[in-house]
Symmetry: C2
Subunit: 206 residues, 2 copies
């Protein structure tokens, strides 16, 4: 049976923690696998209905928090089996579309400052990303020391940190190269092109 990835995300989340609502799941995705996965309500709610029809999940409690209406779900045995089946299937890596790289690739059509600005933007995002990942690393293991999933969570986190750090280092050297080029092309007022050279290369936390 073919199922969309959102369904497996739901099954996976419920395998870790029961009694989540659709709203909870969205939050959980953003707060844990957010750096490599995204889900919107428009995907989650229909998927919840479909999974319920197929008895892979079941509505568990209702209106627990205060008197607030709240539809929580739990994994059924069939759902757990379905998740396990999917886990062993080979993954297909999606056609990755990176608009930053696309603009950089075609940047010869624009002034050097354009590429430099995009690079600075990407560096800034990556610095924030690394901070976020470091914060997760500092708090999660302490709060769930004996969680059997922890080892895998830390592995995904580790790849995120590794890739982000590598991207930051590449970005620094790319900025150096492009700034030098921009300076060479506009040698008349060396004080004017502060855009790139005024920022010192980011010193990354390890």
């Amino acid at each position: 049976m073919k199922r969309n990835p959102t369904s497996y995300v739901i099954l996976g989340l419920l395998s870790i923690q029961s009694n989540l609502t659709g709203y909870d799941m969205r939050k959980a995705v953003q707060g844990s696998i957010g750096y490599f996965w995204a889900e919107s309500y428009g995907q989650i709610y229909p998927a919840l209905k479909q999974l319920t029809r197929e008895k892979l999940i079941a509505a568990s409690r209702k209106s627990a928090k205060g008197g607030r209406q709240r539809q929580e779900y739990a994994l059924t045995e069939a759902g757990r089996a379905c998740l396990r089946e999917w886990l062993v299937l080979p993954f297909h890596n999606e056609p990755p579309r990176n608009e930053f790289l696309l603009k950089l690739f075609f940047a010869g059509e624009a002034a050097p400052s354009v590429a430099i600005a995009h690079l600075q933007d990407v560096q800034e995002r990556n610095r924030r990303m690394l901070d976020t990942l470091n914060a997760i690393e500092a708090t999660v293991p302490a709060s769930q020391p004996s969680n059997p999933h922890l080892r895998y969570w830390m592995l995904t986190l580790g790849l995120g940190k590794t890739l982000t750090r590598a991207a930051l280092e590449w970005g620094d050297s790319a900025l150096v190269e492009l700034s030098a080029q921009a300076a060479a092309q506009l040698p008349r007022s060396p004080k004017a092109n502060r855009t790139a050279s005024s920022r010192s290369p980011s010193r990354h936390k390890r």
Copy 2:
């Protein structure tokens, strides 16, 4: 005017080289930006028609190669202006959906060998990727030494290499960790679990 990314890919490709057919463009995408971008005919051909209607590109020559029917396109001045406008606009980094990481994150539900197999798969793909990128690096600059786009092409290539190498190193250490764990859990027949330990850590070309 809002336009889909495929349109800008077409404009970008034509800014580098004229007289490409839709077929050529698909090939060019696969052979150059393929590691961070994908296009299908179902996107390209409709986009070509739309861009022609909007006069951002123009059908240039017909049936040049042999007697073969062949509709080639070229950038108009309006098209070039449109590309430049887009280049300076901030990029939005897409919600990245990485199924490998998704499976790794939820792998606690399955046997350790499942995660190990996925990891070996990803290492193999990354090794091949690095070979491809190295091959491009070895041939492209020699063939187009004075192309003004070359600097930017090499930058995107450099990021690809950097990220792939970083991923490979992470993968090696992840495999060591998971293999040790698997061995500790099945101490009865240490010769049996060859899946992970039989392969030596990949020695990557730099």
